[in-house]
């Protein structure tokens, strides 16, 4: 029996993205930058087996909506030239579905564990491209720390050059925006074109801030980018907008964005 366990940390976007140029390959319109958030983590165990592929997430067998998991597993199997089926058990040590990025750490650890199970030797760039088939942010979770996802037909991630050790505080909120909804709705926003014009300079400023370990600048740029992204995501035409919601406290409207 072959059994491989891998771990990855979820990412939090600093220069985020919503909107996919190609939903099949999950290639984004523009590049993006993020930081991996420890101690949040997803552990994935992949076991080779006979029969059918079987996917479990936090103890629940996934029966519907397996397309993105299949995309990652099938690509690894194709590259390895193997035919065996696998069982996948994925466990998060943090709540999923509230914008903390469980899909990034889940698909990153799945890609790594499955590649090792099938004896497929991949460098970080190639592994990030396969993880991206599950989730664009998973590419950056593969490479870790401060990483950039470079847009293009073969979008890939790399770890940025830096000497920065930054503390992170996470405030778990109850509601978040479903990422695929956000990817669809921005396509009809009149502001998407303006974001694409703005974002190249924002990326350059963020690269410099990370390289210079300028935490104040990183925070300022991330806040500005989040507001810019919200302006696009909140003005798309994909049905009722979950981005504007009333939270359970007395603090008024809350907005969240992943990516």
């Amino acid at each position: 029996m072959i059994s491989i366990k891998a771990i990855a940390h979820p990412i939090q976007g600093l220069i985020k993205y919503h909107g996919l140029r190609d939903f099949g390959d999950r290639t984004p319109f523009h590049s993006s930058i993020s930081a991996c958030v420890a101690p949040l983590a997803t552990e994935v165990e992949v076991v080779l087996r006979e029969g059918e592929d079987e996917y479990w997430v936090d103890g629940t067998l996934i029966k519907r909506g397996r397309g993105r998991i299949d995309a990652v597993v099938n690509e690894i199997r194709r590259l390895a030239g193997r035919k065996e089926r696998i069982s996948v058990h994925s466990h998060n040590n943090f709540p999923s579905g509230i914008g903390l990025g469980s899909s990034s750490s889940g698909f990153a650890s799945l890609a790594l564990a499955a590649a090792r199970a099938f004896d497929l030797a991949l460098d970080d760039k190639n592994l990030s491209q396969i993880a991206r088939l599950g989730s664009g942010s998973a590419a950056r979770s593969v490479t870790g720390r401060f990483s950039e996802l470079v847009a293009g037909p073969d979008a890939y991630a790399y770890q940025m050059d830096h000497e920065l050790e930054m503390g992170i505080c996470v405030v778990p909120l109850v509601k978040a925006t479903p990422t695929d909804w956000a990817h669809r709705t921005v396509l009809s926003s009149p502001f998407l074109r303006a974001r694409l014009a703005y974002v190249e300079r924002a990326l350059e400023e963020m690269r410099r801030a990370i390289k210079e370990a300028d935490i104040a600048k990183i925070g300022e740029l991330a806040e500005r980018d989040t507001l810019n992204l919200h302006a696009v995501t909140m003005t798309g035409a994909e049905g009722a907008n979950p981005l504007v919601s009333r939270d359970d406290t007395d603090h008024g409207a809350s907005t969240r964005a992943a990516g």
Partner: protein
Amino acid sequence: MNTYPAEVEKVADGLKEVYGGEIIEGSVGDGAKILEAKSDSG
């Protein structure tokens, strides 16, 4: 390397006052890695 542990604690305390709930204190994490690899014929 630049480290800012005191600031993290201070920020977490401030956030706790505002939100009242759990605040997760963390750091920048590494990339994906293998935890365990087992292979047996049994």
